[in-house]
């Protein structure tokens, strides 16, 4: 993790302290980042053929779309309705000949032939548009599916140090909402292409008919560009603010849903509603600000078309009168104007999407690029098919944060097949040892060894397959009971799962559930009791049949009777397997060969039960506290203050606090 500084200088090779704030607040959301777009194309590449077809289709459809006003303007009005005015110079892309050809072949009048041509082109255009839409959707959806899965897999690989700092809600929106806005972007982009093609075709056509009139139309473009520029300036911050507020809303909601019972029991509903209301209000405020600019800008662009029409009538009309262009050409101009302005309006429309998508892309790639990984060995050592189960910790120093050592010079070893107990006050670093052993965090080389191999030389996944850890803060997933034990691991058969459940004495209660092993558990196993959940988490590890078993308070919420049954079953099961058992209840560790007492990250005592009892140290105190009656315990605790940081001596004084004797039998509050 971070640079650790200890009293005794220890060689450290840790990565620098990271700045996670990027995950909390949003990125600055710089303007268009084309690099981002180029990266996105990487995911489209496998589907490039479909994309190419889709673009081809849109080009075709767009070409046809421009031909429609050509038919009405140049063919119908100029040639058929006002044949006297034909100059024969307008580029009509052969539409006139085509019309007369149809008329000749079919024998209908040119007017009807024009209708037939028009109809045919509309039909073709619609059909091609359909093909364009589905090819585009298919490739974009597949590409984004791939991106989503890729993003998800990088998240699966992020180490614990990452999730210690970054809230799930924040990362989650990247996999869900942000990908969705990329979808909007890519689909919208296809549409934009579809609008810009007619723009250029129309521009060419207009230029050929009347360059001067075309210039007037083109005048709209810088105006639109200036408007767009101002809009962008105005919106720059607002978009970021909006997305920040949405993100905050989501994060707040998610956490409140998970902790809903605490919220309700603390009577915080009102206050939280107010807080959520404030976040919601901020969101509304920014949205309101955004639409102020948005409507001004958008409506302006829409009006451009009509203004251009006015200009065409003014100037174009004059040209018609002077016979510079035909009436049909002027009308063609009027009809094409809409097509010219459309992409500009469309750009404005797409602008929101584009902007949002750029920022989303940034967030997605930020998560993908976040290179926080566990150190994996370059030349991993393959573990032998059968482990001896010898574990050694040599002068382990570790801290989660710079300057806050948690483990200080911890050394001990576990012999093959040995059962080691770790005891110690809360926060002394017991779970931390386990987290290192399972390689949840990075640590220096040559500190921990498994069968004589440096742990850092083993791939973390290989290691975790061999070491089964019942975590102190386990997680139950929604799904069936069986799924929770098997965790969808194809190597575990349902029989093995049930066998594991029997080992931890969970079979009984599971069978009594509504659907037995197929009973659906709600999120986090809410419809089970805490002890039942813990049993499942325990069974899950046993089902994977690990060679080394690590139990971190695995029976803390389990009653003594059940625990005895488990101990009995485990006894047979772990014969010859090394195991580590962490427990506060000494009851739990009775079967262990040796006991390690950890205190403030330092190994204070290490030996067999008899040795430690003889030593009369911390373990002895704990033992007396638990196994003898309270009076002796209190006495012992009082006498033992220099060993334990948290003295219990006031208990002795409390005995004469004036409680009526009836309330004190045997030792009431």
């Amino acid at each position: 993790m971070s640079d650790q500084t200890y009293a005794t200088p220890v060689p450290q090779s840790s990565p620098p302290q990271r700045d996670y704030s990027a995950f909390d607040a949003d990125l600055t959301g710089q303007a268009f980042n084309f690099q981002l777009f180029a990266r996105l194309l990487r995911w489209l590449r496998p589907y490039r053929l479909t994309v190419a077809f889709s673009l081809l289709f849109i080009l075709l459809a767009a070409g046809l779309a421009v031909m429609l006003p050509v038919v009405t303007g140049l063919v119908v009005i100029d040639n058929i309705l006002r044949p006297e005015s034909v100059s024969g110079e307008e580029p009509d892309f052969g539409m006139t000949e085509l019309t007369y050809l149809i008329s000749d072949v079919s024998g209908y009048t040119p007017l009807i032939a024009a209708c037939i041509l028009y109809l045919a082109m509309v039909t073709a255009q619609a059909g091609i548009m359909y093909l364009h839409r589905i090819t585009l959707a298919s490739s974009v959806l597949k590409a984004l599916r791939d991106l989503r899965v890729d993003l998800f897999s990088t998240l699966e690989d992020k180490p614990s140090s990452f999730y210690d700092r970054v809230a799930v809600g924040r990362v989650m929106t990247r996999v869900t909402n942000d990908i969705e806005s990329l979808n909007e972007l890519l689909t919208g982009f296809g549409m934009l292409v579809g609008e810009f093609v007619p723009f250029f075709v129309a521009l060419f056509l207009m230029g050929a008919i009347s360059p001067s009139l075309t210039l007037i139309v083109l005048f709209a473009i810088p105006i639109a560009a200036v408007a767009t520029y101002f809009f962008r300036m105005a919106m720059r911050d607002i978009f970021r603010l909006i997305r920040n507020s949405v993100s905050a809303l989501n994060q707040y909601l998610q956490e409140n849903l998970i902790g809903i019972q605490v919220v309700q029991l603390s009577g915080r509903e009102g206050m939280n509603e107010e807080h959520y209301g404030r976040l919601n209000h901020d969101n509304r405020r920014f949205e309101f600000q955004a639409i102020n600019y948005e409507t001004l800008y958008h409506s302006f662009n829409e009006s451009l078309a009509s203004i251009a029409i006015g200009a065409i009538i003014w100037f174009g009309g004059g040209q018609v009168v002077q016979d510079e262009i035909t009436l049909g050409a002027m009308i063609l101009f009027i009809q094409l104007i809409t097509m010219m302005i459309m992409p500009i309006v469309g750009l404005g429309e797409q602008f929101n999407v584009l902007y949002r998508a750029m920022a989303s892309g940034e967030r997605i790639f930020q998560a993908i690029d976040w290179d926080e990984r566990l150190k994996e060995p370059e030349h991993p050592v393959e573990l032998p098919p059968r482990l001896r189960g010898e574990i050694e910790l040599r002068n382990v120093h570790f801290g989660y944060n710079k300057g806050e050592p948690v483990l200080k010079d911890v050394s001990f070893n576990i012999r093959p097949g040995e059962k080691l107990a770790i005891v110690g006050p809360t926060g002394s670093g017991k779970s931390t040892i386990i987290r290192l052993l399972a390689r949840f965090y990075d640590f220096d080389d040559d500190m921990i060894f498994l069968d004589g191999i440096d742990l850092n030389q083993i791939r973390s996944r290989d290691l975790r397959r061999r070491i089964g850890v019942v975590l102190q803060d386990f997680h139950i997933f929604s799904g069936t009971v069986r799924d929770n034990i098997m965790l969808n691991n194809p190597d575990i058969s349902p029989q093995q799962a049930e066998q594991a459940a029997r080992t931890v004495n969970a079979d009984g209660f599971i069978r009594q559930l509504a659907d037995g092993y197929d009973t659906h558990l709600a999120e986090r196993g809410q419809n089970l009791s805490q002890g039942q959940r813990q049993l499942l988490a325990f069974a899950r590890v046993l089902a994977a049949d690990p060679e080394i078993l690590v139990l971190d308070e695995a029976t803390a919420s389990i009653d003594t009777a059940t625990e005895l049954v488990i101990q009995d079953a485990l006894h047979k099961l772990t014969e010859g397997r090394s195991s580590i058992i962490i427990a506060h209840r000494l009851q739990t560790i009775q079967e262990c060969d040796r006991i390690l007492v950890l205190h403030h990250g330092v190994v204070r005592e290490f030996g067999t039960h008899e040795e430690l009892i003889k030593k009369q140290g911390i373990y002895y105190t704990l033992h007396e506290l638990q196994f003898q009656d309270g009076a002796i315990a209190a006495e012992l605790a009082g006498a033992d203050t220099e060993e334990a940081d948290s003295p219990v001596e006031q208990q002795a004084d409390d005995d004469d606090d004036g409680t009526p004797p009836s309330m004190r039998e045997p030792d009431s509050f």
Partner: protein, 616 residues
């Protein structure tokens, strides 16, 4: 980790509220009715926008008239171009101002509406009990509050406006067209209702597609949410590959559903323009012949083409509009599915409850079974707890201990008259006050990703330092906090992830103790705490809780021993009760437990016998 079966169950559950299958029905769009009460709130601005959009369309309708007069003046050989051009400029300016005004207003309404809905959803969800949260996962609710509300918003901002403008455009265009050439107009009208009907039918068919797509989105959200919350478990079990595989399936499924919906939309977008093609063809064919026969001018012919845009523009859009409408309807349906869920716990306080609480608790014949469970969690529990008494519950895993404590604070819905506080049914107390006077510390320690200070004083953040330190002292947490560089300002990570198990548990303990409630219920609050610290806490509690009712659950005899009376629960019933000494004398379950827990060095045989006794 929603699996296949779960997903099916989920889909089936939505199926309850609306017909499924490819054939939609008119009722689907009827979901939109549910929005009326919310929209009604803004009826003033709505009426204004309607007028605004009407005027806009009217202005739009005049533009072709200007074009016509210009064209006609040219064909007649006496061009007057200035007037039409200026006319267009004037109209455009007015239209622009109106448009900005109306559109802004409309979108403000949509934003305000989504604000209202989101607020309502939040408030509603906060009131829910266990059966609701068993049914709707966090990811699911979040998906509704984000995606579905956005759909509704888009519906109000765009779909609704487009429909209004559709009606105005079509009617205004037809009126102007009629004034120019009645006969040509009559030819144009017949295709219109056909187009509208087809559009409507198609959008109905779209509904199930959209709905499926929404459900799939909810699944993607839930999947990611749950997976990331359980990431440590997955990594510890080395199941990342499997999870990625499964996520890939879920995502593919979602992509497929979106594709199906898109394909259908694309089809609508083909059919709609095709159907409107009849109109320009009629104008070219019939209109053209009218021009040739001299019945209408070229200007009129041109104007008709411009009006055609007013007619077909919205008709072309109608596919998209109606699909927005349908999507909005699907979103509305999903929102109201949640909003219609009645909270199981109702806050209906009565006036006659005492102002201050003594702490006398009575449970009378309480039986309870969780919704959806096939066995009852509690059966005929009767306990009378005097004010100031200390009570302990012991029992096997899943025997119902936590359920008893939950019943005291109405986290579960108990029948009337079964739980009494100071002689009054707990249902008669205002819920907030009940939970204030009876403080339950939950078994599952949950902390918010905030500072320790705000976590400890969660119920009332305005507290000063002193009561906070008093509470952390009582929970034996102060020493640990002083070791943190940031002290009380330490941020604990999501769900307290950066604290040790015991630190987390003691933080939740402090959060409960700070309330100094008349009744304190601690659900196995020392399971992750070492014995020494526990003894220290218990000793402190003994002082703090003197004369106040205290209930606790524990698996350790050494903890239970401190209570005045101890109840042994098994299978939801009370099987033994009495003081520590009484129960020891009785020689039952408790005595066995005590024997096992207090004597480590017993011989194996005796343990085996005890074990046998305990397990039956």
């Amino acid at each position: 980790m929603p699996n296949g079966a779960h997903r099916q169950a989920q889909s089936a559950q939505y199926a309850g509220t609306a017909p499924r299958g490819k054939q939609g029905s008119f009722r689907d769009l009827g979901h939109l009715r549910r929005l009326f009460p919310y929209i009604r709130h803004y009826r003033g601005p709505l009426v204004i926008t309607i007028i605004g959009f009407f005027l806009i369309r009217f202005f739009d309708g005049t533009v072709p008239l200007f074009i016509k007069s210009a064209v006609d003046s040219i064909t007649e050989g006496e061009p007057s171009l200035m007037l039409p051009a200026l006319g267009i400029f004037a109209v455009v300016t007015c239209r622009y101002l109106l448009f900005v005004f109306s559109r802004r207003l409309m979108r403000r309404i949509s934003i305000a509406l989504s604000y209202d809905l989101r607020k309502r959803l939040y408030r509603h969800v906060q009131k829910q009990g266990p059966s609701f949260f068993n049914k709707y996962s966090t990811g699911d609710i979040m998906s509704r509050s984000i995606n579905d509300i956005n759909l509704v918003r888009r519906l109000v901002a765009f779909a609704w406006v487009t429909i209004m403008t559709f009606v105005f455009s079509v009617s205004i265009a037809l009126i102007f067209m009629y004034s120019l050439s009645p006969s040509l107009t009559l030819f144009v009208i017949p295709p219109l209702p056909v187009v509208a009907l087809v559009a409507f039918k198609m959008s109905r068919t779209l509904f199930p597609y959209v709905r499926e797509q929404q459900i799939a989105m909810g699944q993607v959200t839930s999947y990611v949410q749950e997976n990331l919350n359980g990431i440590r478990t997955i990594q510890a079990m080395s199941q990342e590959e499997v999870e990625i595989q499964r996520f890939s399936t879920v995502s593919t499924e979602y992509a497929d559903l979106v594709f199906r919906a898109t394909r259908f939309r694309a089809m609508m977008n083909v059919v709609m323009p095709l159907m409107t093609t009849a109109l320009p063809v009629i104008i070219i064919g019939y209109g053209g012949s009218l021009v040739i026969s001299g019945e209408i001018s070229v200007g009129t012919f041109t104007a008709f083409f411009s009006y055609l845009l007013m007619l077909t523009g919205p008709v072309r859009m109608i596919g998209m509009t109606l699909s927005n409408l349908t999507t909005g309807a699907a979103g509305t349906a999903r929102l109201f599915e949640v909003l219609d869920y009645e909270p199981e716990i109702r806050d209906q306080p009565k006036a006659n409850v005492p102002a201050s609480i003594e702490g006398h608790l009575q449970i009378k014949g309480l039986s309870y079974s969780y919704p959806g469970a096939n066995r009852s969690a509690l059966e005929n529990i009767s306990i009378d707890i005097e004010a100031g008494e200390t009570i302990a519950f012991l029992g096997r895993v899943g025997c119902g201990k936590s359920t008893i404590l939950k019943s005291l604070v109405r986290l579960i819905d108990t029948p009337e008259g079964t739980v009494l506080l100071d002689g009054h049914d707990i249902r008669d107390y205002p819920l907030g006050r009940l939970r204030q006077d009876v403080t339950l510390i939950l078994q599952d320690p949950f902390l918010f990703s905030d500072t320790l200070r705000l976590n400890v004083t969660y119920d009332d953040p305005s507290r000063m330092d002193e009561p906070i330190w008093t509470a952390t002292d009582a929970a034996s947490l102060s020493a640990s906090i002083r070791e943190f560089p940031m002290q009380l300002a330490t941020i604990v990570g999501e769900r307290g992830i950066t604290l040790s198990g015991g630190q987390k548990q003691r933080a939740t303990l402090a959060r409960g103790l700070i309330r100094k409630a008349a009744v304190l219920a601690m659900d196995d609050c020392f399971s992750s705490v070492d014995t020494e610290t526990e003894e220290e806490i218990l000793a402190g509690l003994k002082r703090l809780r003197k004369g106040k009712t205290t209930l606790l659950i524990s698996h350790r005899v050494s903890t239970a021993r401190h209570a005045d009376r101890i109840f042994i629960i098994d299978g939801g019933r009370i099987v033994e009760s009495g003081s520590h000494a009484e129960l020891l004398r009785k020689g039952g379950y408790y005595a066995d437990l005590e024997a096992i827990q207090s004597n480590q060095d017993q011989d194996r045989q005796r343990k085996a016998k005890l074990l046998h006794d305990l397990v039956e």
